[in-house]
């Protein structure tokens, strides 16, 4: 522990050093770093799908029955599928969907989970009881069957016009919302547990004595102090959500063709495992490696943020 007079630290040194130490620890985790680079490359490659189509003049959705099941070639690096479409381009497009769903649903999950968890934890009492029974209910549900039911919901029955209900944007948002609806409980529990610990700590009481109200305490004291476990949980939930999306799309209740996703490309490949088994390999391999990489990054974040290795600061 340094003394006050020992050295003159610049204004933000303390905070910066916490984050730079975390980055330092993360950087030394080889698996996590490789995964992070892999994910970055994957994201860039997927984002390139549009430009590649533009420059090569190949349309990922254009069917050509004369060019079915072509082996890899200079033009089609991974060959073509049963409708003569370029497999690589479709994989890149599918990756866009998977990554976008993973990130967006995680953000929504986090917003719902943190709002509910922090409110329940801060207010406590009956309110907390009711909210926590609700999360118990949702945790008791077998998730995939429930996701399927939600995926089967007829949006025109809740007031959408038939055209709107089948538009790509709505189909995309629908899967994001469905997943967020069942996945927020993990983050809510973590947020609630953290809030309950911080709520009654003396520095919050001190603020209360000076006239602080609930929202001030939540935003100024509670959230910054429970950020660490929340960041870790959010990273790990990206992988889980990508798996949910691909499973739902595979089962036909997620994103439906012709929009390619890694999941629905496998639905198609399932029919063709005798004639074209490789079509079943690529999308799954991408799901697997992406989710694995996300989980390694999550694990790296977890150990980099581990309070036992946070030097000097006592965390709650």
């Amino acid at each position: 522990m340094s003394t006050v007079t020992a050295d003159k630290a610049p204004a933000e040194a303390g905070r910066n050093s916490v984050w730079s130490k975390r980055w330092e620890r993360f950087r030394h985790n080889k698996l996590a770093m490789i995964s992070l680079v892999f994910l970055a490359l994957m994201a860039i490659a997927c984002a390139m799908a549009g430009p590649i189509e533009h420059f090569t003049g190949i349309d990922a959705n254009a069917t050509n029955l004369l060019r079915r099941f072509r082996p890899p070639s200079a033009q089609h690096w991974l060959g073509t599928d049963d409708l003569g479409r370029d497999v690589l381009l479709r994989l890149l497009h599918g990756g866009q969907v998977s990554i976008a769903v993973g990130l967006l649903a995680t953000v929504i999950t986090a917003v719902i989970g943190i709002a509910i968890g922090v409110t329940a934890g801060y207010i406590g009492g009956q309110f907390d009881n009711i909210l926590m029974r609700m999360t118990d209910c949702i945790i008791a549900l077998p998730l995939i069957p429930v996701l399927i039911v939600l995926g089967a919901v007829d949006l025109t029955k809740i007031g959408l016009s038939p055209e709107a209900a089948s538009s790509p944007a709505v189909v995309f948002l629908r899967i994001v919302i469905i997943i967020a609806l069942v996945d927020w409980t993990t983050i809510a529990r973590i947020a609630r547990a953290g809030t309950i610990t911080v709520r009654d700590v003396d520095y919050v009481r001190a603020a209360t004595v000076s006239g602080a109200k609930g929202p001030y305490n939540v935003f100024v004291h509670v959230l910054p102090n429970i950020a660490t476990p929340l960041i870790v949980a959010m990273t790990l939930s990206v992988g889980r959500i990508i798996l949910f999306e691909s499973t739902l799309s595979f089962l036909g209740f997620g994103i439906v063709p012709p929009t390619p996703t890694w999941g629905n490309m496998l639905t198609n490949a399932q029919q063709l495992i005798i004639s074209a088994p490789l079509l079943a390999v690529y999308p799954g391999l991408l799901i697997f490696t992406t989710v694995m990489a996300v989980n390694f990054v999550g694990d790296g974040v977890r150990s980099a943020f581990d309070p036992r290795s946070e030097a000097g600061s006592r965390s709650h």
Partner: protein, 315 residues
């Protein structure tokens, strides 16, 4: 001196447990306590753990709502947790008292931030107050984990001072500190009292410290007031058997062995089911039948009108 704080018949009942198919149990943390604190006066609340002294301090600060009774400042009652109180709190554990994610300047300036004082102004003021508690201006830009326990307690005191309170509730502010640091912080508290004329409610179980700092002392046992007296009366001629036992338990040099009957026997009873009559009767060397039946009133000790004691057989 004029009256700053007045507590009238304060009781705090805390619900415990309870839930589905289970009745709630009520803990009487504080029971019918009335006290006053004058301007610039230091009132010490003394008692064993579980005596309700911290709870009473929290009621004064508005951190806990009393179940019954009123809290008044300058004769005007304040309501519940709301309402402006000229009070700040210093907590026991200097580690949990400071938000680890904020720099010290922000921490000290927080009461001003909550009053809407602009950022520049409040940070300048924070640096100034840090100087008053003996910390250099650079301290404002550092994080709490870069300071020792004693320094942290100074930061907490600075945060209390910046709000310019008329009263500070200090909840065992020394007990988490090393003995060598204790006297420094104690002197700081004493200086502040001389300089700013702030009243203290000083919660402690350390009678040595109390004797040093307090003007008056209130002794609590199981949430009830046992004795209230000026420091000199209480330490020289304790009236209540419980006070006498507490004083006898303080180790003093050259006093030889303590008298046997004055040492507290047995455990402190559960506050969930306090004894009947005088709550102290289960451990009192002088207890008789009446003590089990009737709760003694808080009345002047014989010949000392300002020394109040709740005992059927007070000295």
């Amino acid at each position: 001196m004029t009256e700053l704080l007045r507590l009238d018949n304060i009781s705090v009942n805390i619900p415990l447990g309870g839930g589905f198919l289970k009745p709630k149990v009520w803990l009487q943390a504080v029971n019918d306590v009335s006290l006053t604190v004058l301007r610039g006066e230091t009132l010490a609340l003394v008692g064993e753990s579980g005596s309700g002294k911290s709870t009473l301090g929290y009621v004064v600060a508005g951190l806990r709502r009393q179940s019954e009774g009123t809290v008044s400042f300058h004769g005007a009652p304040v309501d519940g947790e709301d309402g402006k109180r000229p009070v700040q709190v210093i907590f026991q554990d200097p580690f949990s008292a400071l938000d680890p994610r904020m720099v010290v300047g922000e921490i000290v300036a927080e009461p001003l931030r909550l009053k809407g004082v602009p950022s520049e102004q409040r940070l300048a003021r924070a640096t100034e107050v840090l100087g008053q508690v003996g910390l250099p201006p650079e301290a404002a830009r550092r994080y709490p984990h870069q300071f020792s326990g004693g320094q942290r307690q100074r930061i907490a005191i600075a945060r209390a001072l910046i709000a310019e309170p008329e009263m500070i509730v200090a909840d065992e502010p020394l007990s988490a500190l090393d003995v060598s640091i204790q006297s420094q912080v104690l002197n700081l508290l004493d200086d502040i009292k001389q300089e700013h004329g702030i009243s203290y409610i000083f919660i402690s179980h350390d009678l040595g410290v109390v004797r040093h700092l307090a003007d008056r002392v209130a002794v609590l046992y199981l949430g009830r007031l046992m004795e209230v007296a000026s420091r000199d009366d209480l330490f020289v001629t304790p009236s209540h058997p419980y006070t006498q036992a507490l004083l006898a338990a303080v180790p003093r040099i050259g006093k030889g062995r303590r008298k046997k009957e004055q040492i507290l026997k047995g455990e402190i009873p559960s506050p969930l089911s306090p004894p009947s009559g005088c709550v102290f009767h289960t451990r009192c060397p002088r207890a008789e039948d009446i003590c089990r039946r009737e709760r003694p009133a808080l009345l002047p000790a014989p010949g000392r009108p300002t020394q109040l004691s709740a005992c059927h057989f007070k000295d």
